[in-house]
Symmetry: C2
DNA sequence: CGAGGGAAAAAGTCAGACTTATATGTCACA
DNA sequence: TGTGACATATAAGTCTGACTTTTTCCCTCG
């Protein structure tokens, strides 16, 4: 996704980033630039660039005479797509997935409501197409086809909301959905009720019924929460 | 806030970052590392580190034989606190403020609901203290005192939600609230109804009434939307 | 036992040379 | 005249070595 391993410092990040987010270097750990440069067999310049990037993600802090210190998790830029990807690929995956699903449950209903007001005719058409694609792939173990349309559906909703910050969550939601299909338990066909809800959301957006689009999407996200046993007692 | 101007490359970022987010270099603009290094009177190494950071924020893309290209706004990492700060400080401010307020309206109610379930006794106490502070400063043009307690209130709610992604929005919300007091029109004392709502939210959280905390917080955020003329017709 | 000063360590900075990828222009050939 | 291969120029990428600066730690001295 996006820009992988661009240049040497990119390769270093692909190794070091996941190692940090994965807890291999616990918060408070002190790394030294020279050692890292030797370990990754790159020059200090390249290593320094990599450290700068990690620093901009608030994963580490560089201090003179001390070294590169791993920051506590609560200070990380957890919205950085790169950080999210690293965490989803590592031991933190279940925790990250729960956080993101809760975020979805907050954002997506509101986004759907806004989409009902702001969506262009083209976006409405896209949405309907996605929903139909989901229906068409909802039976007979066509999980991949279903996933593609599901991801596209949510991406269109978030984009059509007209809010740039919602729109940028498209990639994240896509990755959560992909994770559910690929890594988590998903042997059977998708829940027919969920499929119907998507179709109805597309309808509501097309008709400009914001309240209905929001409520229906809320039901979708409640389903996602229940899948992860995030209850509402 | 956080880590300003750390080192030479930090100073470069403080100039170049706002220039890019402020539209001084429109998307598609091509910058050259050597020129920039001369302009900022730093070595190429330092300039390269700065470019790497901008690249990790998806503000620019570095291509061989071409230069450093400014990416279109829709690709920026708009959740990066640094980017948010730069945009809030520039011409993009009103737009950014609206985006963030819409985000708040999605996130904060859900966060309050979760806080009602997960808040510790200490957090409940903090919350009550903040609400009382708001009441105490709600009359007689004590805007600064009111602001401090308001920011703290929302930060506690977001933290107490137990969701790391919500918690990291504390800084952002604080900056939005501060902006409203300092930059936008805020001559009079705060709306008494808003003050009451905060007190009631604190109550609801203390009593573990998630639905009520959520609904009351939704009313608070609706007020924030109305202040910016973001209607719901 | 505390304050002050010195030494060491690691990041920070700089300059210069070299490598690599790639956009672009040129020229021959169809 | 159009098209493809090839040469060239360019700017980023990389490496190395020397030097500076800050900050911690420790040792001495009062």
């Amino acid at each position: 996704m996006s820009t992988p391993g661009r240049g040497l410092h990119g390769h270093v990040l692909d190794s070091l980033g996941p190692a940090i987010t994965g807890g291999e270097y616990p918060p408070g750990s002190v790394l030294r630039t020279d050692e890292l440069a030797q370990h990754f067999e790159v020059s200090r310049s390249v290593m320094r660039e990599a450290v700068r990037v990690l620093e901009s993600m608030h994963l580490v802090e560089s201090r003179r005479r001390v070294g590169v210190i791993v920051r506590p998790k609560c200070e990380w830029n957890v919205y950085d797509p790169q950080v999210i990807r690293w965490r989803l690929a590592g031991a933190d995956r279940p925790h990250q997935l729960r956080s993101l699903t809760v975020l979805r449950s907050a954002v997506e209903p509101v986004a759907a409501g806004l989409a009902a007001r702001h969506a262009t005719a083209g976006q409405c058409a896209e949405l309907t197409e996605c929903a139909l694609g989901m229906v068409a792939n909802s039976r007979g173990h066509q999980l991949e086809g279903y996933l593609i349309h599901d991801m596209a559906f949510h991406r269109v909703i978030l984009t059509a909301s007209g809010n740039e910050m919602f729109a940028r969550l498209g990639d994240v939601v896509a990755e959560v959905l992909a994770g559910r299909t690929h890594h988590e338990v998903m042997f059977e066909d998708p829940d027919p009720a969920a499929v119907t809800l998507h179709v109805q959301v597309a309808e509501a957006v097309r008709e400009g019924d914001a309240a209905r689009a929001e409520e229906l999407t809320r039901q979708i996200t409640v389903g996602a929460l229940q899948e992860l046993d995030i209850l509402a007692p």
